[in-house]
Structure formats: structure tokens, C-alpha cells
Amino acid sequence: MTKLFSTEGMDVVQKDLQQVILRGKGDEQFAQVINKEISLLPPSDNLRVVNNDEFIFAKQSFDQWCLISLKEQSHKDILKLVSIINANEEMLASDYSYGQVYFEITGNNKNYYLNKLTHFDFRPKKFPVLTMAQTLVARIDCSIYHLQDKYVISCNSSFEDYFKDRFLDTISL
């Protein structure tokens, strides 16, 4: 965890999280396979998020989900989870652990600062708690997860330097 930026009403922290992207039908069997491993049922509505202390589980599209581990696990454990899910021939799990970077954004003014970087509508009536969005932030394709009092933003790790530099540059202006 690295503290990146702190200003009035907003704190930005970079976090080491892990992620698995899941593809499948989303039927009962799909739900059971996942639930057996992480004790969490996948959300059935698009862009909805369910979470517990260990995971964020979001539905990204009609046949795609992402599972983010909030507590850093050994990579082998993640790969084991991927392997177990992939044993089901109608599902695909891909390890995204180290190909993404994660930023946790908190504070009352977070929407104000983020509005300098994205056209996305953060108003609670449009982006309620426990939903997610895929949009451009600082010109980079990002996923934003709205948890109770914070956003988790993730993007491809190859963009990490550009994203951080651009983000910090703009919110400081």
C-alpha cells in the first residue's frame, strides 16, 4: 500500500490487490462453482457489486465477472483458484493479479477531483454504492468500484506511470 496523494477532502492510496476475470453463463452451476470456493454468490445484475471482507465481486457484462481479492494472497493460491474454476469446461478464469494496478480513493471531495479527469457521472443517483463502471479516467480505460465510502479504481499496469502522473498533475491544479 502506497499513499499517493492527500488533499482537502480526498486521499489516494495505491493498493496491491489481486484479481481473476471470469467468463461463463452465469447459471446455477456457475454460481455454485464460485460459491464453493469463495463463499460469495456472483451478482446477477450487470454492473452490480457484492462484497465481503475478502473479495469484491462484480458483474462486468452479461457473461463476464471480476473477482478482486482485498487481502493479498500467495500467487499460488490464486492460481489454484483459477485452476479449480478452469476445471469446469464451460467456464474461463484468467489470472489478472499483477497485470492491474489499484487505487483506493476516499474523502468527501473525491467526486470533485475525479470530475477533472473523467466525464463519468458520479452522482449517487447515477452511481450508487455497490455498483461498478468501466470508463475512461485520465484517458485510460479503468474500472471503478463504488464501495460504501470509497472508490476502487483499477487499470492495466502498463498505464500505471501515465495514469499516476496525469492524475496527480490534474488534481493538483
Partner: protein
């Protein structure tokens, strides 16, 4: 006449500010614009006109200004800054523009003498020839002598963008805008109120037309209303912000000036471009006064009447104590009253209307104060050197009366400010009573309030606000009582232009002040056949200046309608295009400049590359090492020769992380892969790979890569760096739309693995040292096989494959472990002098081997057969994308361009990529007849291994010509004799590759 100081609550008269104009020091007050400060100092001459270099002064008091454009060298030196908008600050340096050597004595004003020649279309007609003169003589000369300000030499400014998502945008915080906002206070609607000034109130602060609102003095009411809005939970206010654009889907763009009245700070954004999405847009942006065309209506000292009044009330400046007022409508009553209230008296009042049309209270006022009134009269023209000295009033027929004065206030009527409304694609209509174009029907969720909708009666404003906004939830009726000090009902007589008393070629009445378009130009354009208003606009450049003809375009329509003997509604209007006011490029660019110009992607090894003198190449958004400099003096050619020699001698390593990687899995994955690629994977053994080709439906090569089969339900495909996203989209599209019956899913795993390509004769030994528990022997690890291995806390994958022709491996490792592994590989290969190489060396090595690069050796018109890759087509497959196209007659014909190798007969000669291959040895100089072209060179490199140039080319019937001779043409029309060979120069039998 002097410009007196009046008390104004909006400029701070105890804060004196000094600034310079054309090198001379002047004083103004905090809150003054450049224009108000110059008027305060009795300066009338501000600039020179665009074409004729005529003297020009301050015509208006706002964004509509056509004349008073200046340059501010103390800032970023943007040209064409409107002096009527820009506020002064201590030490500000202001310069006039488009004059030389000085504003008063401008040599360019000689253009005015030749002006009878410079009529509409002068440039189009005159500068036709001789050939070549336009580029070398005319254009540089015209650019030097004509135009506005000078562009800044350096781009320095700092601007940001800001995004808003709201329910309602209110444009304009005048009376109607404020009433609309008040109605929405503390509702559930998210509201953004935008005001171009640095205060709320608009016309309430520019005039004394309203005495009280709900029994309160105007300023008191404004203060309370502003507090109410500020404390509301749902309304945000943007001041100093002008809405410039109204796009489709209720998307508005507004520009905020962050440094009003202050020097721009270097580390702060001076401009903010607001991009706003809304459900409803309320346009309450008022009206703009228009002028009347008469002889010399451009002289400094001619000013719009409402602007004169605004200088009095807003800035506390009376531009002149006794101006002549010329009008054709009711709106000038308040100016007369304001002047009298201040103890000043107009020199004369000239009204084009009949006496019965003129409001009684105006006539009473004139009568009571003995102001000479010329009724049913008009201004014929005005005269003076560099300023108004005398005006000519035509009272009856051609009876001219001369009046000495230094200022003439003109009002030709009021134009609802419909620019934004028409940008939103709303339809307008002509109101023949008020002589205005006003909104008729909205195209989007647009509501107009107040004078922008043609409602010039303040008393009706609250009624209009209630009527138009009551549909919004939670709103209540507003009760507003106004005590008005203005005309009761707007009244106007049609008058666009007055007649000249004397016919002279040098007499000018202007239709467009900024672009020096005269009423005579309009007539001439119509005579020459440009009778459609859009054509006429372009032929004359009427209303095409930075002011977009805000005070003049309707007059031009009026004049043209008279010439054409049509109603103005039949003539129509030109289209108002965004931006409403000029927007600087810095605001448009925002922070996407210099290092933020384009997003960059970096591999996990990037820091190592930087530390080892990599020179980078942009491949898509990726930064890829192009080559590594051994020392500062090493050229790219030397580096690439060194790197490639070393790879073939011992080993080299390439950061191949950027290659696309896609994981494909599902019950029907094998069927899917057989459909997407030309190859047949049915008999491919698990844990082995295949070089695979992907075609478009037209049968042309789309991408290539290695497909690794884990089992029949699970594959990993690699793609080219640039093609990664497209290949994934292509696969998804087919899976979702063409073959939804197939159970198959795919994920991009490009970012999940760093990839190292290690190749060269020593690569096996090096990897055996790094991964001591893996058997890399040919028997255990043959060509095109792969496996997964445990490595530290993770898992890596190694594929035996090569793009150099040498024995090679691709190592796939999660990014977290990549840099350490990269360094470890170097650690274990010290004695072999492992060389890092970049993309240029990779290209050379693969060309020596005859491997193609999609996009370099192909161009979207090349089939696998053209590339001699027939062996990659699964002949027994029932179907795959592009299969049907491969049997089309045009595809199977013999004389298509085919890939061949090219070698210069004289080994010391070099061939360049892109050069043409021809049959004939000599070319005539200059070339007069078409030269038969066989094809072109697609790849060419100097091979350090072979010590001569090797090239590949696509040439007609190439395969038949192998063994033959051809010629490569060079830019100096010499030819290089070459031999056509098979495209494989190094290890054609693959002995090294398979060793």
C-alpha cells in the same frame, strides 16, 4: 469632451491600477476592463481594421465587440483579446494590433485609399496568376499586411478540463436566469448556473431599467438571491464562464477564465473548459444590441447605445457628456434618462420612427430638458479624422443638418442571443413586429427565457419563468413584482441602412466591422449571383470574424432582403456555429500536451531499458526499445548491426511483453479456433504451438501469431503488438454474433505476462542455468512445444519458438517477477555476452530468415497464398473466416503480387524499403511515359551475417520470376540490378532453428 468618472458599485475606485497601452502608462480601477479603463482616460482609438486599416474604437461593452481587439504581451500573448471583456491588473501590458509603425500613423492605412479596388471577391478575382505567384508572392504579402493579431510563438499556457453531469443548466444569471434558479432552489434537481460575468445580475447591474423587485432595491434583491442560491443544496454557480457550444444530446461546453483581473499564475490553470451533460438546458442569455449602417459608421466615437449605458452603470465611466443618440426603437429611453440623471445632456436625439410611435415618456423627457429631437430622421453619416467630430442628420428628404459632437450612440434594435439555441438545432422564426429572429421550436430539451426568447418586457419575465418551468417537479410559482423604469412595449421601425448624401467611391457604410465588409460589398455579391445567404457570407466574409457578426449579421440579412426584394424570413439566416466566442487552443487541449499528449504503456522491464540506454520506439501506445546504444556516439545502424551479429554469435534477449496474448477456453474452443484461424488445430498435440494466420472475410491476412494448445478446450493465442485489441474484438464479435451456439470464452492476458524472447546458439545453455531443474534438450523440449513451470511463488510458461531463425525460447512470467528474472538471465549469461536487442534488430533478424511482419510485408491486400503460406491453410477444414474468398477468381489468378526475396547483384549496393521494382534497366529523365512497375520492396536490411543487403518484395508473378533479374528504381532515377530469389537468406533448411 471628457470621460467623467461616475460612481459605480462594481469597480473598486480606491484600488488604482496602472497599465500600459502601446507603451504609455494609464490608470484605471480594479474591476475595469481594458476598454472602460481606456475610456476613463479618454482614449478612443484602439486599433486598425482588418482589411483597410481604418481607425477603430470601442463599439460595444461586451463579448460582441468587433473592433477593440488587442494583444497582451505580459501574458501568453494570445492575439485578438477583446478589450471590452478583459479586465486590467497592475502592470498589464496592452498593445494595439494590425498597425505599423504606430496606431496613429499606420502605413497600412494606404489600403483605404485603394479601397475602391478591394471590393468583395477581390482576392478571388485578382490573384489568379501567374502560376506559382500565389504561394510565393501573394499569400506571404497578404498575410503580412492583412489580418488581426500575431499568434504566440510558444505554447505555454496551462488549462484543464472539468466535467459536469447535472439535471439542469441555466445559461445566464440575469433577471430571468436568476428567477429560474430561485425557482429550483433546494429541489432534487442538480442545477448549474453559468454566468459570463464575474457577478450575478446581468442587465440588472448594467442599467437602471428596474427600480425595485418585490419592493427591494435591485442590489438588495440580488444580494439576497445570490445568498439563497449559494446556500442551496443543489445549485452550483460558475462565474466568468461563457457557454461556447451547445452540442447534440444536451452537451454544453463552457470556458471559464480563472485569472480575471489578475496576472496569470504560472502553476495554475488560467482557463477551464467545462464539459457539461444535462437533462434540460435553460437559455437565459439575453440579447445583443445591433447597429445601423451609415456612412463612416466605423469611426472611433460611434458606440452602441446600450453599451454606452453599460459603461455608465457597470464601470462608472461616462464615455461622453453630450453624445448624439440615434435610434429606431424604444430601448434608448433609459440611456437618455441615465444621462439626464447624471446631469449630462445628449447633444441631439435622432429617431427614425414617426412621432406617434415614440413613447410619450421619451418625448416628455426630451421636451422637459430641451434636448434637440429629430423625429422621423436618420443619421446620414459622420466625419472626422481618427474620431467622430461631426454627424450629419437627414431630417426630411435630403435636408442635412450637421451637428458637432465627439460621440454617436446607435441602436438599431435588439437581437435575441439565439446562437446557442440554433447550435442546439432549435428552429427560429422571424418576428415582423419586433424585427427579430427568435426561438420557435426546440430540437432538444431546451427552454429559452427572457429576451433570448423575444420577450423584451421585464414585467412578463416571472410569468414566463413560471409558465415554462412549472413542469419541473417540486417547483412552485414565483411571485415577483417589478417597478420598471423603461418602455412599456417594445417598438421599432425597420431601418438597416441610411442613404449616403454624396456618392463617392470612398464612402463606406459597414455591414461587418471586423471583416471590413461594406453594404456595397453585399450589393455587389448579389449582383454577381451570390444571392443565397450562405454563398454571400463566404464570398464577402460577412460575419465570419471572431465576433461572428453578433451586432451585424441581422442587419446584413435586412440589407440583402431589400436588395432581393424579399421578406427577411425568406432570405433566412446562416448557421451559427460553435464556438459562440473564441476558444484558445490551450483550453481545447487541456492537459493533453507535452508528456501527457498521448497515454503511454510501459513494460515491467522499462526502468532497466532506460538505465541501459534504450532508444524507444512508439508501437501503438507502447514504448518499445528500438535499439540500445552502447555509447553516446553509436548510431542506430551501428547498434543494430552489433546487436544482430551478437544474437547469431551467442544470444540476445528481446522484451516481447507487448505482444498480444489471448486465453480462449470452452467446450467448443477447438471448433472456434479452427474457424478463426486458417490452420487446423484438430491434430495439434496438447502443450504444443503452431504459427497461425488469421484472415478477414475478404481472405486477406489480418494478423498472425503462435497459437498454443493446452488441450482441445483451452488455447492461448499470441498476436502482433498493434493487433492485440482488434484480434480480441474480432474473436468476441464472431463468438457473440456468428457462432453464439459455441461454448467459448476469451480473455486478454497481455498484461498478465511479461514475455522475453531469448534466441541465439547459446540460449539453451543460458536458460538451463537460470532454470536448472528444467530439461531444455531437443528431445525433451522440441521446437514449438511449451510447458508451465513453478518459479518462486508463481508459475511461468516457456515456449520454444523463434522469430530470428536461431534456436529460441519465449519465457512468460507474471509482471511482478519479471524484472528480477530479466536481471537473473543476464547474471547467468555474463560469459556469453548476452545482448539486449530492440525492435529494429528483431526486424533485421526475421528478414534474414524470411519471416514476414503483418502490416509491413502485408498491406491488407495480401493473401496467405501470396505470401507462400499455403501450408498454413487447413485444406480439410469445412470452414474458416476468409475461406470462401480464397477461391475467388481474382485471388487465385497467377499474376497477383507474390512475396519474393531480393538480392542486389552488386553486393555493395543498398536497397531502400518502398522502392519500386521495374523491368527496364534505364529510366528516361524526366519520366514522360508510364513505367511498368512489378511491385515494391517491403523489407530491406543490411545483413551483418551475410555482409550484404537482403530484401523482400511483393512483385507480380513473383514466384515465376524467381531466379530472374529485375531492377530497383531509386529517387535519382538510377536503377539497381537485383536478383529475384526465395525469401529465406539465413539457414533456409532450419538446421539452426531445430538444433
Amino acid at each position: 469632451m471628457s470621460a467623467l468618472n461616475n460612481k459605480s458599485p462594481y469597480v473598486i475606485d480606491d484600488q488604482k491600477i496602472s497599465f500600459t497601452f502601446d507603451g504609455k502608462k494609464y490608470f484605471g480601477f480594479k474591476g475595469d476592463t481594458i476598454a472602460s479603463a481606456l475610456l476613463r482616460n479618454n482614449i478612443r482609438l484602439i486599433g486598425r481594421s482588418f482589411k483597410y486599416h481604418r481607425p477603430r474604437g470601442i463599439y460595444t461593452c461586451g463579448i460582441e465587440e468587433p473592433n477593440a481587439l488587442v494583444q497582451i504581451p505580459s501574458e501568453y500573448n494570445d492575439p485578438n483579446i477583446r478589450a471590452t471583456v478583459k479586465q486590467i491588473y497592475e502592470g498589464m501590458v496592452v498593445e494595439s494590433q494590425n498597425r505599423w509603425p504606430s496606431l496613429k500613423n499606420d502605413i497600412g492605412s494606404i489600403n483605404n485609399l485603394f479601397s475602391p479596388l478591394f471590393s468583395a471577391g477581390f482576392y478571388y478575382k485578382t490573384f489568379m496568376g501567374p502560376k506559382g505567384f500565389w504561394k510565393k508572392v501573394y499569400e506571404p504579402l497578404i498575410r503580412k499586411t492583412a489580418g488581426l493579431g500575431k499568434p504566440p510563438k510558444k505554447f505555454k499556457s496551462k488549462s484543464i478540463h472539468f466535467y459536469h453531469n447535472v439535471d439542469i443548466v441555466i445559461v445566464g444569471a440575469g433577471l430571468s436566469g436568476l428567477l429560474a434558479a430561485k425557482k429550483l432552489v433546494d429541489t432534487e434537481h442538480d442545477v448549474l448556473l453559468i454566468e459570463q460575468d464575474n457577478f450575478l445580475g446581468g442587465i440588472l447591474k448594467n442599467t437602471k431599467k428596474i427600480k425595485t423587485i418585490n419592493g427591494q432595491k435591485v442590489n438588495e434583491w440580488l444580494k439576497k438571491t445570490e445568498t439563497l442560491i449559494k446556500n442551496s443544496k443543489n445549485i452550483n454557480v460558475l462565474k466568468n464562464t461563457t457557454v461556447t457550444t451547445y452540442n447534440f444530446s444536451n452537451h454544453l461546453v463552457a470556458l471559464e477564465d480563472k485569472s480575471v483581473g489578475n496576472l496569470q499564475e504560472k502553476n495554475k490553470p488560467e482557463l477551464v473548459l467545462h464539459k457539461i451533460r444535462t437533462k434540460h438546458a435553460i437559455l437565459a442569455n439575453g440579447h445583443i444590441e445591433r447597429f445601423i449602417s451609415f456612412r463612416n459608421n466605423d469611426l472611433p466615437g460611434v458606440m452602441l447605445a446600450a453599451s454606452f449605458e453599460k459603461y455608465i452603470h457597470r464601470y462608472g465611466v461616462i464615455p461622453d457628456n453630450s453624445p448624439v443618440i440615434f435610434t429606431n426603437n424604444s430601448s434608448t429611453f433609459s440611456l437618455v434618462k441615465s444621462l439626464i440623471d447624471l446631469g449630462c445632456k445628449p447633444q441631439a436625439y435622432v429617431d427614425a420612427r414617426e412621432k406617434k410611435q415614440i413613447e410619450k415618456k421619451t418625448l416628455d423627457l426630451l421636451d422637459t430638458h430641451n434636448i434637440p429631437a429629430y423625429i422621423k430622421s436618420e443619421i446620414e453619416g459622420c466625419d472626422g479624422k481618427n474620431k467622430v467630430e461631426e454627424v450629419s442628420v437627414r431630417a426630411k428628404k435630403n435636408n442635412i443638418t450637421k451637428i458637432k459632437t465627439s460621440m454617436l450612440c446607435v441602436s438599431g434594435g435588439l437581437n435575441p442571443d439565439i446562437h446557442l439555441f440554433t447550435q442546439s438545432r432549435g428552429l427560429i422564426k422571424w418576428d415582423s413586429t419586433q424585427l427579430v429572429f427568435k426561438p420557435n421550436s426546440s430540437f432538444q430539451n431546451t427552454i429559452t427565457l427572457g429576451s433570448v426568447s423575444g420577450n423584451f418586457s421585464y414585467k412578463k419575465t416571472s410569468e414566463e419563468v413560471n409558465k415554462k418551468l412549472n413542469f419541473l417537479e417540486e417547483t412552485k410559482n414565483l411571485e415577483v413584482k417589478l417597478d420598471i423604469n423603461d418602455f412599456e412595449k417594445f417598438n421599432i421601425k425597420e431601418l438597416w441602412e441610411t442613404k449616403h448624401a454624396k456618392k463617392s467611391l470612398w464612402s463606406k457604410s459597414f455591414a461587418d466591422l471586423q471583416n471590413d465588409v461594406t453594404t456595397r460589398d453585399l450589393k455587389q455579391a448579389v449582383l454577381e449571383g451570390f444571392d443565397r445567404i450562405e454563398h454571400l457570407k463566404r464570398f464577402t466574409t460577412n460575419s465570419m470574424g471572431t465576433d461572428q457578426g453578433k451586432i451585424s449579421s441581422v442587419n446584413s440579412l435586412g440589407i440583402v432582403s431589400k436588395i432581393l426584394k424579399k421578406n427577411i424570413s425568406e432570405v433566412g439566416t446562416t448557421i451559427y456555429r460553435p464556438p459562440y466566442t473564441p476558444v484558445s487552443f490551450s483550453a481545447i487541449a487541456g492537459r493533453s500536451t507535452y508528456k501527457f499528449y498521448d497515454p503511454e504503456r510501459k513494460t515491467p522491464i522499462h526502468p532497466w531499458h532506460v538505465n541501459n540506454n534504450a532508444v524507444f520506439e512508439d508501437v501503438g501506445q507502447w514504448k518499445r526499445p528500438w535499439y540500445f546504444k552502447k555509447h553516446d556516439g553509436e548510431t542506430m545502424y551501428e547498434a543494430v548491426q552489433r546487436e544482430s551479429k551478437q544474437v547469431r554469435r551467442t544470444a540476445g534477449i528481446l522484451d516481447g511483453t507487448t505482444l498480444g496474448k489471448i486465453e480462449i477456453k470452452g467446450k467448443d474452443a477447438l471448433t472456434f479456433m479452427n474457424l478463426v484461424y486458417t490452420n487446423d488445430f484438430s491434430k495439434t498435440k496438447p502443450m504444443s504451438g503452431k504459427y497461425a494466420l488469421m484472415l478477414g472475410e475478404d481472405g486477406m491476412v489480418k494478423d498472425d501469431g503462435i497459437v498454443c494448445k493446452i488441450n482441445d478446450q483451452h488455447f492461448i493465442a499470441t498476436t502482433t503488438t498493434g493487433g492485440a485489441m482488434n484480434v480480441l474484438s474480432h474473436m468476441e464479435e464472431y463468438a457473440q454474433t456468428e457462432w453464439p451456439n459455441l461454448n467459448v470464452y476469451m480473455n486478454s492476458v497481455t498484461e498478465q505476462f511479461a514475455t522475453f524472447n531469448i534466441s541465439g546458439p547459446k540460449s539453451r545453455i543460458i536458460l538451463s542455468r537460470v532454470f536448472s531443474d528444467i530439461d531444455f534438450s531437443n528431445e525433451k523440449f522440441p521446437f514449438m512445444t511449451f510447458n508451465k513451470f513453478n518459479y518462486l511463488e508463481t508459475e511461468i510458461r516457456i515456449l520454444r519458438a523463434s522469430f530470428t531463425g536461431e534456436i529460441g525460447y519465449e519465457v512468460y512470467v507474471p509482471p511482478k517477477y519479471a524484472l528480477a528474472l530479466w536481471e537473473k538471465i543476464f547474471y547467468y549469461s555474463k560469459d556469453f555476452d548476452l545482448v539486449p536487442y530492440g525492435t529494429e534488430t528483431m526486424h533485421l533478424l526475421r528478414a534474414e530468415k524470411g519471416y514476414i511482419i503483418v502490416g509491413q510485408d502485408t498491406d491488407g491486400t495480401v493473401t496467405p497464398i501470396d505470401l507462400n503460406l499455403n501450408w498454413m491453410i487447413g485444406k480439410n477444414k469445412k470452414d474458416f473466416i476468409g475461406k470462401r474468398s480464397l477461391i475467388r477468381s481474382d485471388i487465385v489468378k497467377e499474376n497477383r503480387k507474390q512475396l519474393v526475396g531480393i538480392l542486389p547483384l552488386n553486393k555493395s549496393e543498398n536497397i531502400e524499403e518502398g522502392q519500386h521494382i521495374i523491368e527496364s534497366e534505364t529510366l528516361s529523365t524526366p519520366i514522360r511515359k508510364p513505367v511498368k512497375m512489378l511491385g515494391h520492396i517491403t523489407s530491406s536490411y543490411y545483413s551483418p551475417t551475410l555482409d550484404h543487403c537482403v530484401a523482400m518484395a511483393l512483385i507480380k508473378e513473383g514466384r515465376k520470376l524467381i531466379g530472374g533479374k529485375a531492377f530497383v528504381s531509386t529517387p535519382n532515377l538510377k536503377t539497381i540490378p537485383v536478383q529475384i530469389v526465395k525469401p529465406a537468406f539465413v539457414d533456409p533448411k532450419n538446421e539452426k532453428l531445430l538444433s
